[in-house]
């Protein structure tokens, strides 16, 4: 059976033009998707049943047993951490927030090690952006700063920017100037009209220099800034000022390097300054399929996009204090529920190691690195494959993921709802 217009749940592009062929309840062919989509849909090996760790190894247990024990673990924890949420749909995320509120937990999503710093910058200066269709239809200058879409978002350039045919940009590539700024000469740098190689940790200085040049204060700038020649900076500033519609896309090159959110703030203020000359927008390339969805759900329910601490009964937010890596690094949490993510692989050693010291429960379709650190792993559906639900694209457009096949797994929203009901009084006082 052919299923059309399927949404790939892997990365923030949420490409929604895939065609899948299914046979006997399994997906056998993927069309229009990139190789990441193929891997997501086809080689989808799952943990067959819930498992629990014993002294010597692992044993299979029933869903009811796993759910009840999870509720018991969370019920009497003094500072439980609920982490992940980015690869599942909005319905599960909402129940997660209700659980965190009910047991006075800290709830955080994967933006804390991805675009959390971009959120901090937006909270200082705002976010002049737009949906990807505006860029596709109008942009004649595209800047990729500190990101490598060819590797991380393979179809970004063909669906939304460089190679996309736009209403006002019918000749696509020929009418667009592509600038790539990075410390590394990536494949994306290979297709750029202008490649700016910045010294390590020098993004902030280069951005400040560009802002000064755009403000007409080029005289203040020295001959070289973080390894970039002043002439190249002036040339870039001219290209941007003369654009009809400019779009900056930035990635973890800004959020993870020295200065963290200050780099992103500087890039947003550059966009702001350019808006006094022409139309300019800026957007982060969000990594996970529905990480932006977890930000949106957390925000309309608690007021904050990530790192929310309910210990005092109210929602408290302070990245650096209530963020998952900090709470694990300080050994503060005494129980953890990991949903739809893999901190065992993505967190620094000291933070991941703490998960092994406390009762940790994982709810995820696949065996991952965190499984080894956990006490219980409950397999569930994978959003976009055998579970439908809402996901938010990297530019905020909400799309409904499709349930393409059924593999007999319970939806993680169902599992979380059962846990929530037990916590809500189903278990006595």
């Amino acid at each position: 059976m052919i299923v059309r217009d399927v949404i790939c749940p892997f990365c923030g592009c949420l490409c929604d033009d895939l065609e899948l062929e299914t046979e006997g309840g399994r997906i056998v062919k993927v069309q229009n998707g990139c190789s990441l989509a193929e891997a997501t849909f086809i080689s989808d090996t799952r943990l067959p049943a819930p498992i629990r760790r014993t002294e010597t190894g692992w044993e299979e247990i029933s869903y009811d047993e796993a759910i009840r024990e999870t509720a018991e673990i969370l019920q009497d924890a003094d500072r439980p951490l609920l982490y992940g949420w980015s690869s599942t749909h909005g319905e599960a995320q909402s129940i997660g927030v209700h659980i965190a509120e009910r047991i006075g937990a800290v709830i955080d999503n994967t933006s804390t090690v991805c675009h959390g710093p971009s959120i901090l910058a937006i909270q200082e200066v705002g976010h002049p952006g737009c949906t990807l269709g505006q860029v596709k239809n109008r942009a004649d200058v595209i800047i990729y700063w500190g990101c490598n879409p060819i590797e991380a978002h393979p179809r970004h350039m063909s669906r939304y920017t460089t190679y996309a045919t736009g209403f006002f940009v019918p000749d696509a590539r020929r009418e667009r100037t592509v600038i790539v700024v990075d410390t590394r000469r990536t494949d994306t740098a290979g297709i750029a009209d202008e490649f700016v190689q910045v010294e390590h940790g020098g993004d902030y200085a280069v951005l400040s220099a560009l802002r000064a040049i755009v403000r007409g204060k080029a005289s203040v700038i020295p001959a070289k800034v973080a390894g970039v020649a002043k002439e190249q900076l002036i040339r870039i500033a001219e290209i941007c000022k003369n654009a009809k519609f400019g779009a900056i896309f930035f990635g973890l090159g800004l959020t993870m390097s020295r200065g963290k959110y200050k780099n992103v703030r500087n890039a947003i203020e550059l966009t702001d300054a350019l808006n006094r000359h022409t139309k300019f927008v800026i957007s982060p390339l969000r990594g996970h399929g529905n990480v932006y969805g977890s930000n949106e759900v957390f925000t309309w329910m608690t007021g904050y996009p990530f790192a929310v601490d309910f210990a005092r009964g109210i929602a408290f937010y302070n990245p650096g204090e209530t963020t998952a890596v900090d709470i694990l690094r300080r050994g503060e949490c005494d129980a953890a529920l990991i949903v739809a993510s893999d901190p065992g692989a993505n967190f620094p050693r000291a933070a991941a190691a703490h998960l092994a010291k406390i009762p940790t429960v994982v709810i995820d379709p696949h065996v991952n690195a965190t499984t080894a650190l956990s006490r219980i792993h409950i397999p569930c559906t994978a959003a976009g494959i055998d579970a439908a639900g809402t996901a938010y694209r990297m530019d905020g457009v909400p799309i409904r993921l499709k349930k393409v096949i059924d593999r007999g797994y319970p939806d993680d929203a169902e599992i979380l709802k059962k846990i929530y009901d037990l916590l809500n009084g189903g278990m006595g006082p």
């Binding site: 892997f10 990365c11 990441l36 193929e38 891997a39 080689s43 989808d44 090996t45 067959p48 190894g57 692992w58 804390t112 090690v113 959390g116 901090l120 490598n148 590797e151 991380a152 393979p154 410390t183 590394r184 000469r185 740098a189 190689q197 390590h200 940790g201 973890l252 090159g253 993870m256 390097s257 020295r258 963290k260 959110y261 790192a307 990245p319 650096g320 963020t323 998952a324 900090d326 690094r329 893999d342 065992g344 692989a345 993505n346 967190f347 620094p348 050693r349 000291a350 933070a351 991941a352 190691a353 092994a356 010291k357 696949h366 065996v367 991952n368 690195a369 499984t371 080894a372 650190l373």
Partner: protein
Amino acid sequence: MKFVLNTGRSVPQGAAVEHKGTEVYRTVSSACFLNPVDMMLLGIENGERVRVTTPAGHIVLTACPAEGVTQGECFVTIGPYANHIISSETHGTGMPDFKSQRVDVEPTEEPLKSVGELMEEIGGLRYDSA
């Protein structure tokens, strides 16, 4: 030799990210890309192993030449191998130093570890699904 560790995504890493027990994933995420000149200075060839050390710990990786990596830097895809040696300091922002960790790289003969072994080193117990 002193380097700055840079991490990031790659298509092979993304494709194998949901199957961390596999050989493919291990090869992909334990590759350490170095500038060919640096590899010459270290006296190592493509595919030989290096021991990368930081105050947080050490890890054995496979060296691979890459033109795009500048001298003084090394690039490893995000994953348990790179994170085995990255500090959990977040400078009050919640974000660790995934792209500015200072490392020491030396050639070595030690074997590559599996993801399961890395997890067991930090207190976990490997689960080998059927």
